[in-house]
């Protein structure tokens, strides 16, 4: 009897463990009904309120089309993503809610849940289906997280009258657009079931970031690096890219292991790293995977090692007090290095929000601009907008001059190294160096 209860308890516990996976992507259902849209003619149907905020449109009546953004608006990175939605609104308002002869409205949709504190797969798929089925949606800005993009791209790819185009301001996972040493079998083709591409991104992929990170550590005099990852597609991907590049550069990889986001302490891991003699530690993953605690335990346990992390730690307000001095890379150009239109945007938008914009805000703004340009050049259908997105060629835009190649990748691939200054609300990133990794290193990543 007693044994039966114990076994029953363990089974129930295991089931619960699967349900409440927290920051590790659980599978709760979220309700999302599709708006049965009507095509164009200033008669757009707004996306459902379960995931999306009210329609932002200041023209007369209703807009012809809706461009939603799909970002995680809850959890550690909230400050950053909310600012990105404001950057998108800023650009749309500047364009007077118009793209050529068409009028465009904007809705900010959320792919995260409070429970998970980050993006959640069921939310991503529900959102993507809502965009696909609402005929007013002509293009999508998103996602923030590569894992969520893996779910949304194929759904939008098969959308009616599609494919429906998507522009990501932040996805860096390599396999979304092209294959490489760190990508899985079947990538990227499995994301494009109907054979046509419908996805472009404004940032360099992780093969660039990994190469740049390894190069940076080597330039700073690193001899041996211990690489951690958070077991997610993005974290494991960028950690692998960095490992490959480091090996190619002759850096010793002292260890490559995962950190458990649910662990109560990382002191033992820190002892192991100290024992390995590594002078740099690389944290491939997201800050919301207990990153602040990890950083503080590593700082205490391996005080002499320098810490480096990719763009998963790019919300400088979330990194915790121990992160001061840590190096964090973000694919792209730092806000203060932008020129021309970019500098104008940073100044005007910075004045509006009353602080120095986060690096990703300019990328969100450029994404909206690219979508508006594609709508202007299109004949008003989804597939025509998508075609024009893949032909994107920007001269003197917010991010400067660049074009999109046939994979959907940008030709402008700098990676900026920031150094964390301060923490909490006053935490910011000081631009340390802009790395442009060599082509051969990127290929090895």
């Amino acid at each position: 009897m007693r044994r039966g209860i114990i076994v029953g308890g363990i089974v129930a516990a295991a089931v619960l463990a699967l349900i409440a996976a927290g920051c590790g992507g659980s599978s709760k259902s979220s309700s999302s009904t599709s708006g049965g849209g009507s095509g164009g003619g200033g008669n757009a149907t707004a996306l459902p309120a379960s995931s999306c905020q009210d329609l932002y449109f200041e023209g007369s009546g209703k807009p012809d089309y809706i461009v939603p953004s799909d970002l995680p608006l809850q959890g550690s990175g909230r400050t950053q993503t909310i600012e990105m939605t404001n950057a998108i609104r800023f650009v749309l308002k500047q364009a007077n809610f118009k793209a050529g002869k068409y009028t465009v409205g904007y809705q900010s949709c959320d792919d995260s849940t409070a429970q998970a504190g980050k993006w959640e797969s069921s939310k991503c798929s529900a959102n993507a289906n809502a965009y696909a089925q609402n005929k007013s949606v002509i293009g999508v800005i998103g996602t923030f997280n590569s894992g969520c993009a893996e779910i949304e791209i194929p759904i939008l790819n098969r959308a009616p009258d599609g494919p429906l185009g998507m522009v990501s301001p932040a996805n860096t996972y390599v396999g979304l657009t092209h294959s490489g040493p760190g990508t899985a079998a079947g990538e990227p083709d499995k994301y494009y079931p109907n054979g046509e591409r419908n996805y472009i991104r404004m940032v360099a992929a992780d093969d660039f970031q990994g190469a740049a990170d390894a190069q940076f550590m080597k330039d700073q005099g690193a001899k041996s690096v211990f690489i951690l990852n958070d077991k997610e597609a993005y974290g494991l991907g960028v950690a692998t890219d960095t490992k490959n590049s480091a090996t190619k550069l002759g850096l010793k990889v002292a260890g490559f292991t995962a950190w458990d986001p649910k662990a109560s302490s990382y002191e033992a891991v820190a002892t192991k790293i100290k024992q390995s003699g590594a002078d740099w530690i690389y944290l491939g993953g997201l800050i919301c995977e207990n990153g602040a605690k990890l950083v503080s335990d590593l700082k205490a346990g391996v005080p002499n090692a320098k810490l480096m992390a990719p763009d998963g730690f790019s919300d400088f307000t979330a990194n915790g007090p121990a992160a001061a001095g840590m190096f964090i890379t973000v694919a792209g150009v730092p806000p203060e290095k932008l020129t021309g239109k970019g500098a104008d945007f940073i100044k005007a938008f910075g004045d509006q929000i009353g602080k120095k914009p986060n690096p990703y805000s300019a990328y969100a703004a450029q994404s909206m601009q690219v979508v508006l340009d594609a709508i202007e050049k299109s004949d008003g259908t989804r597939s025509s907008v998508t075609d024009n997105l893949l032909k994107t060629d920007v001269t003197d835009g917010i991010l400067g001059t660049f074009s999109i190649n046939e994979n959907g990748d940008t030709t402008r691939n700098p990676v900026t190294v920031y150094q964390q200054v301060g923490s909490g609300k006053s935490g910011t990133g000081k631009t340390f160096k802009v790395e442009i990794p060599s082509a051969s290193l990127v290929k090895a990543a």
């Binding site: 007693r2 209860i5 308890g9 619960l16 995962a258 458990d260 602040a292």
Partner: protein
């Protein structure tokens, strides 16, 4: 002790399984001991350092595990909400110690720090104790004579409700606490550093455990608890107020969760609404490992799990590493339950084991 554990239950099984399981168990324990010995030989300082880390973690787990085992002992109910009571205790600790009330910061003078920490401890104990009693009153009491599955499911329900209360209270992010415990080392010998934080965890945990044992073994109330655990109806006939005794058990279990919550918040430095679940699961495992219903067993199981985790993550020579921590913990649980279903120190009752 582990070897003995693997040999003992075999009398009850057939002769073939007896030899097979015994050989398997001894082999496994021997392998683990060999692995530990080689690691100790190679890096003795790290080994001791990691032992201390694991022991401290284990002591924290023990406080939570005792709550599971106390309640199981008296009601034969796995109180799944217990981990979440612990989590809310941690949040209470963050609130009390943080800017909301005491506003403690690092480097407070000891005569300011300690009275306030003890006050915070009492607040957390009271809060969690009452919370646990309330959960029992609302979710379990009416179901005492219902089929076993009913209270198990309400326990899971209560766990989710408490989790969502934590979420609504502090939001989805990790809540950071200020580093208020004295920094620095108690001693540092040959590369082994023992920090004050770790010592404080033990300094609080040990007396709490001693008081608990005294309470259960030596007091009138403890006697009532043991009597109720043995036979509820007979205890009632002897004039023991069963409801009050059960409430008292939940109060004690909750208070232990409160101690754990405060220590965890101060030692680990961050609390999140879903943390109680994971830690509760580990503590529950510890309780089963040691023999559920058995107080020293829960402590032993918790210390073992703390050490397994730390050794697995920290040792350098052929350790599976942190990718495998959970698999290791639960793998060992499965092995021990297969070899000894009543747990390491569990008693074999006529109807179970």
């Amino acid at each position: 002790m582990v070897t003995e554990a693997s040999a003992e239950p075999l009398e009850s099984t057939s002769r073939f399984r007896l030899s097979f399981t015994a050989v398997f168990g001894i082999l496994l324990v021997g392998l683990v001991l060999f692995w530990l010995a080689v690691n100790f030989y190679k890096t003795p300082a790290d080994f001791i350092q990691i032992f201390l880390i694991g022991f401290t973690l284990g002591a924290l787990y023990a406080l939570i595990a005792l709550g599971y085992t106390l309640v199981y002992g008296i009601l034969e109910l796995i109180n799944f909400a217990h981990g979440d009571v612990f989590m809310l205790g941690g949040m209470m600790a963050v609130t009390v110690v943080g800017t909301t009330l005491f506003d403690l910061t690092q480097g407070e003078a000891w005569y300011v720090l300690w009275p306030l920490i003890i006050a915070a401890l009492l607040i957390c104990m009271g809060f969690c104790g009452l919370l646990n009693v309330t959960v029992e009153l609302i979710a379990y009491r009416r179901l005492r004579h219902a089929p076993r599955l009913a209270p198990l499911i309400t326990a899971i329900g209560a766990s989710f409700i408490l989790q969502n209360i934590g979420l609504a209270w502090k939001g989805p992010n990790y809540v950071q606490t200020a580093d208020v415990l004295p920094a620095g080392n108690v001693f540092s010998i040959g590369g082994v550093e023992y920090t004050w934080e770790k010592l404080i965890v033990l300094l609080v945990t040990t007396p709490v455990l001693i008081i608990l044992v005294w309470l259960v073994q030596r007091t009138r109330q403890g006697k009532a608890m043991r009597a109720t655990a043995q036979d509820r109806d007979a205890a009632a006939m002897m004039g023991i107020n069963v409801n009050r005794t059960i409430s008292f058990t939940f109060l004690i279990a909750g208070a232990l969760a409160g101690v754990a919550g405060l220590l965890y918040a101060l030692y680990a430095g961050s609390v999140r609404f879903d943390q109680g679940f994971q830690l509760g699961l580990i503590a529950f495992t510890a309780a089963v490992l040691g023999g559920i219903g058995n107080l020293p067993g829960a402590v032993l199981g918790a210390l073992l799990i703390g050490l397994i985790q730390a050794f697995n993550e920290g040792l350098s020579w052929h350790s599976p590493g942190s990718d495998w921590t959970q698999s290791m913990v639960f793998g060992i649980l499965i092995i021990i339950l297969v070899l000894r279903p009543e747990g390491l120190l569990g008693e074999r009752t006529p109807e179970g084991g």
